[in-house]
Amino acid sequence: MMTRILRRLTTLLAAALVAAPVVAADTFVFTAIPDQDEARLMERFSKVATYLSDQLGIEVKYVPVKSYAAAVTAFRNDQVQLAWFGGLSGVRARLLVDGSEAIAQGVEDPNFQTYFIAHSSTGLKESKDFPKEIAGMTFTFGSKGSTSGRLMPEYHIREQFGKKPDEVFSKVGFSGNHSKTVALVQSGAYQVGATNFKVWKRELAEGKIDPSKLSIIWKTPGYPDYQWTIRGDVDARFGAGFKDKVQAALLDMKDPDLLASFPRKGFIAATNSDFQPILDTARELKLVD
């Protein structure tokens, strides 16, 4: 026992001493919006880094960030050159970085959905029409910068009630990410919430959702969401045709294990104009100038 602990301690110490992983200048770095549990993101994107590294023949590194805004800022400041953004964060990033482009999206992303979910104590059931009964209840979004957790649900709430969310609900919160939204509504901390349908389906499959406590009450119409966005200056830095190589590598991702970690059926090409509806909505809600 004692020797085991000692050995672990030595490993820890050694790890500490080589703590500074210096990023070489020619490393291709990417990030992703922290839209769900971090352990899961880490698992998914370290696989992606290995995959891209094999495909591109250079070192590829994933840098985790703590917020949607941090992902956009890192992209803007060229500390990452590629990012897995949501619709809104992608639109923001491309407005801030001239020449940046959306190059790939999941098969499911052009038709993404937000689920409105409610705790069983509200007595609400799933309906085709927007559940107007949620007025006066407590409500949580996901991250402030999320498309499926903030932008689209807020858009529908304003459209239905003609008022801002904090005028519709008795309390409005921002859980931070989709997993957290599910957990907070399940615990009853909020009565109603809005979450990403992909995260919902997975948590349901994993048994994290107790159907006796939590149910879907409304599904939004589809809208474009996640995409890979790359900076415009990568060809100058990593060699001509680099952007196309990255795009080809992403579209060519066929490993079921890798795709399941997103989860997406596969990736298809994307362009900036695919996300025009998101930009228009964000402008309407004054989330983007």
Binding site: A19, A20, K66, A69, V72, Q79, L184, S187
Partner: protein, 508 residues
């Protein structure tokens, strides 16, 4: 009917100024409570608390491979940050009599480390410089002030005895500094302890310190892992005086900069863009500054910002601060006897010390975060956490102070001793400590907005989420001014009550 009091011309009992001020503050807090949202919103907080407690008794030190790295980096950021702060603090202290220097220091320390970190993240990204500056800048402001006050209070006799022609620099190194040295050294060590707390909390915005892993562990409910990290942190702080030896400081400082980790490149065009574009109010950006239309748009922008965001933010910040301040006062009165020789034996005091050390070592930001997980979003978690943390700090100081009170041989004991002798005799000191913490509580209250409580930090966080840095800067300015206002009000009240004006270890 005439009473004796009337006959004596007293009319009604006259309370001392200290009692009147206390009553006023309690009344304000009760008034604020009427507007505060203090509901427990989780349906079953107890099951979550049980899981947390289970985590505490089953800490898992090997859950995160990176925990060793996190500990080393937490210490490294604190070391480098505080060393820079102490270095610039001692220089700035020489010029502290100059108004603008004093004001710049006041502004630097009125903005919380996490806010500084959020600013530097925009310029330098997740580079080590972000974390170092986030600690060094506010701390330099605090150090400058304390060092200046300390140096001012060194006895003038030695300085007067110097022969004519001795340079100011020689006089400083050979006369003023040696006199103040012990005090400066102690204070800097205390600052380093605060630096460790700040460093840990910086992990919440993405720097590779303990807070980073702590937040992940908490948000995913891995309480054994979170407990292990917190215990590591307590061990670092509790053993501080064992490993922080004067002889080793030089060695630590040589090594620390290389252990900060994650060296992403700093690009100066990002810094330039931040200063020349990002923080310029949107209506004036790329506008013709001679165009009255731009200025009228700016006026609208300013009114919108102040009315829709700054004002509600200020109200919530003040409401929460006042409640937390009074809650701190009550907890302090409950806590200090725990470590006082006048009230508890050796064993009782040991337990008391352990409790107070844990409470004051845990950064209040992390305490609030924990309580938010338990009780759901409202002001309650913030009030309880701020009161526990600050109550433990002041309780500790008061407890030590109470040991020095000399009692008559026939003095009462137990509750009578507490209520009718010890508390009244220490009441001035108690108020002085509280008024010192007032400004610190407010600074902390503002940052808690980042966790979702609608104080000023909430609006700052929202503006950051929209990458609207002009709004961020305006709201930060409002936060700084509010803090300076409280600081000056507190100083006036202390002067009015003739409370002692210097208590270094109570500043944070």
């Amino acid at each position: 009917m005439k009473t004796i009091a009337d006959a004596a011309g007293v009319g009604r009992p006259r309370y001392s100024a200290a009692v009147r001020v206390s009553t006023l503050f309690v009344a304000i807090a009760v008034f604020c409570l009427a507007f505060a949202d203090i509901a427990i919103t989780t349906l079953d907080p107890w099951s979550e608390m049980q899981r947390m407690l289970l985590g505490v008794v089953t800490p898992d030190f090997f859950a995160v491979e990176a925990i060793g790295t996190a500990v080393v980096q937490t210490i490294s950021f604190a070391l480098v940050g505080v060393a820079l702060a102490a270095f610039f603090g001692i220089i700035l202290a020489q010029f502290f009599h100059i108004g603008p220097v004093r004001w710049a220091c006041a502004i630097a320390r009125s903005i919380h480390e996490l806010f500084w970190a959020l600013i530097f993240l925009q310029m330098f990204g997740l580079s080590p410089l972000t974390g170092v500056l986030a600690i060094a800048i506010p701390y330099a402001g605090i150090c400058a002030k304390v060092y200046a006050e300390t140096l001012d209070e060194t006895p003038a006799a030695a300085l007067n005895a110097l022969p004519a022609g001795v340079s100011t620099i020689s006089a400083f190194f050979f006369v003023r500094l040696p006199d103040a040295w012990a005090h400066i050294k102690n204070y800097t060590l205390y600052r380093f302890e605060c630096g460790l707390r700040s460093s840990a909390v910086l992990g919440f915005v993405g720097l590779p310190t303990l807070g980073y892993y702590l937040q992940t562990a908490f948000s995913e409910g891995n309480y054994s892992e979170a407990a292990a990290q917190l215990i590591m942190f307590y061990v670092i702080i509790a053993s501080l005086r064992l490993w922080m030896k004067p002889k080793l400081v030089g060695l630590y400082l040589l090594v620390a900069p290389f252990l900060l980790g994650g060296a992403s490149q700093i690009r100066w065009d990002n810094v330039v863009r931040f200063v020349t574009e990002d923080i310029v109010p949107a209506p004036l950006r790329n506008a013709d500054l001679l165009d009255p239309q731009a200025w009228s748009a700016f006026g609208d922008w300013l009114m919108m910002m102040l009315g829709d965001q700054a004002l509600p933010g200020i109200v919530a910040t003040v409401v929460l601060t006042q409640i937390a301040l009074v809650a701190t006062a009550f907890l302090t009165l409950a806590f200090f006897p725990l470590i006082s020789t006048k009230f508890f034996g050796r064993f009782g005091r040991g337990v008391g010390h352990l409790f107070l050390v844990v409470m004051r070592s845990t950064p209040e930001f992390i305490l609030v975060y924990i309580f938010l997980q338990l009780w759901g979003p409202s002001m309650l978690p913030a009030i309880v956490a701020l009161a526990l943390h600050n109550g433990a700090i002041i309780g500790h100081l008061l407890g030590r102070y109470s040991d020095e009170i000399r009692l008559r041989p026939d003095s009462a004991s137990g509750f009578n001793l507490y209520a009718f002798e010890v508390v009244p005799r220490m009441y001035g000191q108690f108020l002085a400590y509280l008024f010192y913490r007032w400004e610190i509580i407010m600074r902390e209250t503002a940052i808690l907005g980042v966790l979702g409580i609608a104080t000023l930090g909430f609006y700052i966080d929202s503006a950051l989420a929209d990458i609207r840095l002009d709004r961020v800067m305006l709201l930060l300015l409002v936060t700084a001014l509010l803090n300076l206002g409280i600081d000056s009000l507190s100083r006036r009240i202390r002067a009015g009550l003739r409370l002692s004006t210097r208590i270094d270890s109570c500043r944070d």
